[in-house]
Amino acid sequence: MSYVPARVVSNESVYGSYYVLVARALRKLRRIPLPPQFSMVWVPGVDLLPLSYARYEDGLATFFYKVVGEGTKSLSLKRPGDFIAMSEPVGKGFLEVKSPVFLAGGTGIAPVLHYSMYLEEFSGMWGVKRGELAEALIERFPELKRLAVASEDCTFGLCGRLTDHLDKLSLERDAIVLVSGPAEMIKRVCGWLKSCGRGPGFVIAEAMVKCGLGACGSCVVGGLLLCRDGPVVGCEAFG
């Protein structure tokens, strides 16, 4: 993986352990990241994190992430002016979609934000544990207003999990559905799409990515290498 050094512009919590990082690449990436490509973001001396783009414009990259371990913790401590690095975009863009329906859970919303830069029309639902997260992120990115929200603490939008409200979606028979988020949610949504004969369903998959070059073989999902063939894979890869 080749890396481009980047300087942190801002890196703030939008709600609790959820952060929005904006970083400026010191030189432009050779390939403009297309949704839902991701980059390997290097926290110097600590970790390398696969993060989906929420935005990329003129060398300015925006990522939305949650602090879950040592690597993301260290990333959250980076202040404006600090240096990180990011890889050239990994995987393939997936833009041959017209008016897709996004079903996103938690930080799975990041690629939806990136898609919103490219799509005229889209709809769907975002599931969050806490309504306050949805409220805060929508304030920052008003384009998310186009999605319904389901909050598990019932303080914003629909009450409960996203998967409790799938029957409220008015899906055309051939609507393209893009699912992103926790594995359990993905399985349920894909199962539901199959059971009601809707779709095609596609998953913006996540996996342990170590080299990002198709060389180490650690990111196999359904027989494909996520970093080379993904991150979009068919629902069938999730049984």
Binding site: M40, G45, F83, C211, G212, G214, A215, L225
Partner: protein, 304 residues
Amino acid sequence: MGNALETAVAGLALRHPVMNASGILGYLPEHADTMASWRVSAIVSKTFTREPREGYDPPIVVKLGYGGLLNAVGLSNPGIAGLGPFVRSAKKYGIPVIVSVGGGSAVELIDVAAAAEEAGSSAVELNMSCPHFEGGGLELGRDPTIVSSVVREVSSVLRIPVIVKLGVSDKLVDSAARALEAGARALTLINTVRGMAIDVYSLRPVLSRVYGGLSGRPVHPVAVWAVYSVYRETSADIIGVGGVFTWRDAAELIVAGSRAIQVGTALVYRGPGVVARIVEGLRSWLRQIGRASLRDVVGAAHKR
């Protein structure tokens, strides 16, 4: 008209001289399908060790931009238990399957090599030169006495050919000669060369393990020298590896003394079509220089 590119190394018949270098994919059954699609003449596994190894934390690979790759993957592999599924998957393509074998001691190498033989592999390649495997890599391969004893022990219990992979060291020629005396049927030369990259903004080493192994274009002349030097002294069966991106690079290693070559980093830089392009390039090169067969030019640089 026969196949001008047919060759053989360590008794393995090869349709053409280009196989993959150990290290890119090669430990899960589904990897074998991708590797076969590269059109290699033999499939070489990633290094298997007795126990599973997780490998190091990322960053484990850095692309250096001038055709070089620096890696410290840490020999991640599923251990002996994963050998059978990988070898069975690779064998269905009807080409030789070579299992790369690693370990910190002769006993461990024997265990893994024996498991490879039992799984049906065509040969083993003893990895005695990984620059970032503490205690089981370069340390083994650069001591000719250790090379000799380890190769003798492993060869004595295997029926399939033993190929020994050595890296560059002051004693390369000596180690190579001792490996052959001890029963190695062929040598793979060279492994990656120890190297390091530092990010000058954050002021930190890039690889999580600080240093790693350099492969790709920057090591190519080193590989040519190594193959030339060892062939001159031993006339051994050599598989040349190091920075082969084009047919010309491959041809150089062949003329220096290689009967086969391996391609690794070029798969990352040039994509999976690189093997077929090298093979076709070698075919036209033989025609251009008026040679009927690859065998006529192996080691040709030594003839006066």
